[in-house]
């Protein structure tokens, strides 16, 4: 009887120790890297949204011309420094980024900069009401997005 009680007390103590140190199995907290992956996917999704919206306005599919500036400004803001969204160590988990982002980081940064420049050019055209060139500037930006996705994003269907 005595040994059972002692064992019982010890197991309670052990459980307390484990709980205290957080080593008991429970739903794993997302790592900082996981959060970055989710964040940048959210940013990329928002860019897709603004691209589609800007395209719809520029192609005359909808008449919300006064909303175009907001979309292109958002694109300019979120492409300002894409490289920051891909720190070392964020290549694991549920990411569609290919290892090349880091193993060929120089080229990746070039593409990111290209997207930034193209989005700025589009935003400038809209700010100057240079509507003749909206289509061409949008196409330039799209090409930048596409080129990076081609070489740095996993080939998986949507």
């Amino acid at each position: 009887m005595k040994s059972v009680t002692r064992r019982h007390r010890m197991s309670i103590a052990a459980a307390g120790l484990l709980l205290g140190t957080g080593l008991v199995a429970h739903a794993a907290e997302p790592s900082p890297a996981d959060e970055i992956v989710k964040y940048r996917q959210a940013v990329m999704k928002s860019q897709g949204g603004h691209m589609a919206a800007a395209a719809a306005i520029i192609q005359g599919k909808v008449a919300f011309k006064d909303q175009l500036a907001d979309h292109v400004k958002s694109l300019e803001a979120t492409t300002r420094d894409l490289n920051v969204l891909f720190p070392k160590g964020s290549d694991m988990g549920d990411t569609k980024a290919l290892g090349e982002v880091w193993s060929n980081n120089e080229e990746f940064q070039k593409r990111a900069k290209d997207a930034q420049q193209k989005s700025t050019a589009l935003a400038k055209a809209v700010a100057a009401s240079d509507s003749q060139n909206y289509g061409a500037r949008l196409k330039d930006l799209l090409e930048a997005c596409k080129s990076c996705h081609k070489d740095f994003r996993k080939k998986e269907e949507k």
Partner: protein, 311 residues
Amino acid sequence: MMASRIWRKLALAGLLMAAPSAWGAGADAPSPLIVQGEYVYRAAGCFGCHTDHKHHGKPLAGGRALATPFGTFYTPNITPDAQTGIGKWSEQDFTRALREGLDRSGRQLYPAFPYPAYSKLSDQDIHALWAYLRSRAPVRQANKAHDLKWFVARPLVRLWKALYFTSGAYQPDARQSAAWNRGAYLAQAAAHCSECHTPRNALGGSDISLRYAGTRRGPDNSAVPNITPDRKTGIGKWSARDLADYLESGMMPDGDTAGDLMAEVIDDGLQYLRKDDLAAVAEYVTSLPAIEHAVGKAQKKKKPAAKEDWE
């Protein structure tokens, strides 16, 4: 000494001025046949497969690896080089390759080369494509041997053809409009969409009950989307206009861009097609019967193994 050097420079200058094509003066503009041939070439996507982009290979000189369940194929050199390309081929040889899937010595061609699609090209388009390919720069680059599974052999292709191949040009469907037929022709004969977008059985034959409905095991082990108009698993939410715009620019209705293989197809080919042709293809594809067929992500476990096959 000085004088002869000056004369040589003048002679060179004279030669250059007499060759307006080098300066784009237009006197040597390509013939209408070659222009048409280039158009077919763009729609058919020859450049994409017959160029080794990964290793910065020369255009059409071959060497690109295509990983399949049957092993890895390396595309041949189709420049007009006499030693290593198709420089010795006649137009009849070329036509037979596209129509019948046979090389100039009568050997079976593996249907990794999508002649089941190209067989549907019109005589005129094959003739024009030949003229265009002959006008390309010859490149001396020997073909790399395919790296195929032990049981794969050319004579087996005869059996494969008996089961899965009917040669012959596209026949218009009289019940459909001219535009629809144009779209069907471009999609089936040139762009050969169904070759990638249709699942294949163990023998490598297309499962026609799931035509265009996507496959988990496409080229280079990629997942290829369902492009039938199914709203849940296909592109049913896309309008014909969305699809035509996508084929021209690579932008999807949600603002995202085409994935790497389609980006290639578009960048190197479809973006050069006329707007009315792209609209026709879109009309055809969005008229297909909707097939519910969910194509999930390619099995990640298999991917690394597949890479070893062709690396």
